[in-house]
Amino acid sequence: MKRDVLKNAFDKQRQFKSKTVSYRKKPLQSAKQPDVPKGLYEKCQSCGKTFIAKDMIKNMFVCPSCDNHFRLRAIDRLNITVDPHSFLEKGLGYITLDPLFIDGYEQKVADYKKQTNLDEAYIYGYAQIESIPCVIGIMDSHFMMGSMGSVVGEKVTKSIEYAMVKRLPLIMFVASGGARMQEGIFSLMQMAKTSGALKKLDEQGLLFVSVLTHPTTGGVTASFASLGDIILAEPNALIGFAGPRVIKQTIKQDLPEGFQRAEFLKDKGMVDKVVHRHALKDTLHTILKMHQGGSE
């Protein structure tokens, strides 16, 4: 089964030929970025070794040498998680505005849009995992560190509402630096908005699985990311509310090794399970299968 997915990992364009996606000017695809020169090589940030990009895709962007989990683009995450051709993107057409008139913010958003080929740092839609239908939401930390502004907050809320309408389980892959500073108080309020929507989902007895990936910090940790019925995490992912640098500055001490990493949080009882990326799809499938009856 796994091999089938890998085969299709190359087949990025074909996967998105669904009705909704045709509204996009260009199909959703992995954008080229400078740290992958012409998509040939990929360098591990942790051990510094270089690998052929094709091998990396096969290995789900996990470093074969040191097991470092690379930060994934939304599209790559989709490819390794959901069944081929099953994803139907929802919630298109949101436009980010600049409520505080911060210099250069609009330009920055425009640049990121071009760079990542995404509208915002979050995509969601209908998908199937091993033929079990679910709603899947993915944050892309390549879009302005996956920060949550009004649009991301709204889309997260919409994805929760979509799961409620369709009565499907919701899986969210979180990767975010926190609230988006450029949108000020509006970003802060998205925390209340998304958490409130999750309360409704909870009242309806639907499953919410939150998968924390590197990095999950700030306002996102303090809202929907921490509210999963089941919280999974990728190995060595940075997860916390305050950033390590801020903590170090405040308490003026060195931080213990492995502080705020996924394993540390598991030890402290904040995360249900640390799952290797290779096993993530199977784990999610098993969880979904166990909850197929819903809570009734």
Partner: protein, 318 residues
Amino acid sequence: MDILKKEKKLIKLEEELIELDDEKKIESIKSKIEDYKHGMMQDLSAWDRVMLARHMKRPTSKDVINAVFDDFIELHGDRNFGDDKAIIGGIAYFNGQPVTIIAQQKGKTTEENIESNFAMPHPEGYRKALRLMKQAEKFNRPIITLIDTPGAFPGIGAEARGQGEAIARNLFEMSAIEVPIISIVIGEGGSGGALAIGVANEVHMLENAIYSILSPEGYASILWKDAKKAKNAAEVMKLTSYDLLDFGVIEGIIKEPIGGAHHNPTQTYEAIGKRLQQSIESYYNRSSYEIKTARYTKFRKIGFFQRFNYDNLKGVVK
């Protein structure tokens, strides 16, 4: 000239007044003081308001509780780990009606501040707040929260005990509490620490209070990599009560005396009491379902963006 310098000048004028005996001179200086107050101490910049919100003499939550409520009984602990002194909570009478109070407590002296950790809560503080809110729901009494914190405490223990989860859980549960929640930002409302007790049916702010995603210092260091630009940050962040009322993030502004709440605390307490009374009365005839739905709907609507509606483009491809 910033507000603190203006304040010093005002204090100098007032000191002059005490030394004088001549009635005519007293009259002239009194009118001078009034002119000064009305001329110089109004029209504050955002940074002025930041300084007033952090003023050492500004009334703290305990002051407000003692002045506005009767028979306050403080309740301690989260029944799990410990008691956080940055968040105080309890029950009290408000105009003869029992209410639950949750408040973030700053100190007025250094010792007091160290004891209350400068009003920066730990996870157990949020969990205590939630416990008391659930209790209020059980006994059907309104919840009043007083917000005054620079933000959540960034420390090893706080992270290890799940600061993020504690705040998230509060936001989650508060959205469905079936009794009215009224919040008043009395000083600083900083980031998740403030919001964690601020998911309210009505959020009011004292005129010179601030409410923001982060302290201006933190904001400047993230956006411009320079914490010294805090003054500029304060101006662009739109953190004053008037800005937030414009944005529809808060419901009302409670006027302060000229120069800040500490110049005439009694007047401030009266204004707070009056506003609270109005707010609570407006929920007397509403069902619990209405109350929680109104709160949820209010927060659901907050956001600043546009949407290009694809649904209206049926049949149009590309």
